[in-house]
Symmetry: C2
Subunit: 339 residues, 2 copies
Amino acid sequence: MAMQGNVTIKTVAQETGLSLTTVSRVLNGTAEKYRISEATQAAVLAEAKKQGYIPNMAAKTLRLNKSRTIGLIVPTLNNPFFSLVASTVSKLLYAQGYVVLMSDCANDPEEERKLIKTFLTQNIEGILAIPVGGRKNYELLEKGGVPTVFIDRFFEESKIPYVATDHFDSAFKLMEHLVEHGHTLIACIQGDVQTISNQYRVKGYLEALKKHNIGYSYLKGGSFTTDEGYLETKILLKQSQKPTAIMALSDTILLGALKAIREEGMSIPEDISVVSIDNSSYLDFLSVPITSVSHPITEITQLAIKMLLDQMGANQASAPTNIVLEAKLIARKSVQYIP
Amino acid sequence: MAMQGNVTIKTVAQETGLSLTTVSRVLNGTAEKYRISEATQAAVLAEAKKQGYIPNMAAKTLRLNKSRTIGLIVPTLNNPFFSLVASTVSKLLYAQGYVVLMSDCANDPEEERKLIKTFLTQNIEGILAIPVGGRKNYELLEKGGVPTVFIDRFFEESKIPYVATDHFDSAFKLMEHLVEHGHTLIACIQGDVQTISNQYRVKGYLEALKKHNIGYSYLKGGSFTTDEGYLETKILLKQSQKPTAIMALSDTILLGALKAIREEGMSIPEDISVVSIDNSSYLDFLSVPITSVSHPITEITQLAIKMLLDQMGANQASAPTNIVLEAKLIARKSVQYIP
DNA sequence: CTGAAAGCGCTAACAA
DNA sequence: TTGTTAGCGCTTTCAG
């Protein structure tokens, strides 16, 4: 039974003839603690229900300086990998009684910077982020303003802890797989160069080349998008010396590469081998199932959430331990054996 | 230069020797309006910067009863269709100075109900929702508590306005396409039966059957998931009377159907034709490009946002006009002509 | 077992 | 051009 005007503990108090204090206590479940009589409790609850009382979080937040709000920053929600993170974060945190302010910074570091400022405004209790720009954006947070945990990406010298995949190893594993299959002409299409995830993957590529004394190398690209994958692969396949294998550093890039390969009339794996990082669920449904490396993204997210909640609970900033999980190679049908 | 303790307009006022009012006015850009001197303005701004002042939204919200916060409810973020909506909402609303509380209700109506309650607690100014459960969950909002707009799904008798695709027409168009290609044995794998989007699509299926006097009909399934699509297609393909075409009522369902079809050793479109609704970007990269129907989801989202902002602006509840957009058939290679 | 009153940070009458 | 003050809704000492 909603009433006109605003229903507050005050209106409930007036109607029941009780004090604000008592009403507040009953409505917050601290009735037992203060030994409030059953009768009073019942009266408050009944009146609150009758009036359709809804607590005002802004007031609570102002008073308690705790908002039960967590901020999540993702490069974009329009990418299965990130939206899976977002989905997990949302569900798990709501279950813990938190509310999540979520934002898609459109892969724009400037946007990210503004977002953090906005979040700081919102009495947020913690931040989870997949960073997009440089460490500079997170300076304010490093100073301990708000507990923060990075997911899958991070800054090496930063104090902000992270849970991430071993990106170096991801690429390295794929390279070993290719080399074992006799490939030496391996091209790599990378994503956003400023991201640590990309940097480590590239290191894995280069390190494998070095380990096996492979002279050929081809490294191009600059964003984790299908368009970029398409364009770079187009260019790559026009080269006089064609590679025998392509490693796409993400599945978004992969999709573009596949389109380019098809347009050039080439078959996988007969004409060219292809591998990727991410192991998205749709890889199984492509014309040729693609060998990929699976990142335990749900687990990473769960751990990051746990780490954040721990940080928030700790009254003293305990030294956080970064966590790095290993990826798993999923061999499918996209790599040809070259004798 | 962050200070210890909390920086507020009070600390800034003390340090500058000015009043709270003046500081507030300068910091809110109303300095001109009150003809505050350049010198004062500069002093306030400098001190605020020096102290590292960050506005406290909880206090602002409490005082102004406006939070600049919008709530978004999606069935799940782990679905490209919904996460595209989320991405668009996030970007567009942040650009307008809003912050968005986003939540994945895991396709659970009960979860949705709780979420709405939680949102109501958060002094939210408006809600965008892709509803999951029944109309009952939105009762409180219908009463005008908070301006709300539905995206792509809705309730017929509800006062809450919506922007949606013409789901009936989507399915109907696909059916016409199949019938034109000589199909009469057409199976339909549906999604969540309680959603209006599914209901209209099914109506489109049945209506087309009726129009063309087709006796055969096969309607199964109950959720917009790949697993469901897989299982139902598995079962379907074991039937003695096999269909010549399958219509998947979403791309998630489609992916599962494709897997089942491949496992049964059938080829598309030679052994069976397949069409779907959604036209996800990856359809172009599948072994056989799938004929589908494209929903203008970004446009729908944009319109819904506009509608919501209008609603929020209107001091009197102007009668909202629902918007229904038409989908477009994208013919690819997955439908065989049957003479 | 219950209440009075102060105050979280901010804005907007109303005064000057 | 600037300041005083009340109060948004809530919790929490401190006091019965």
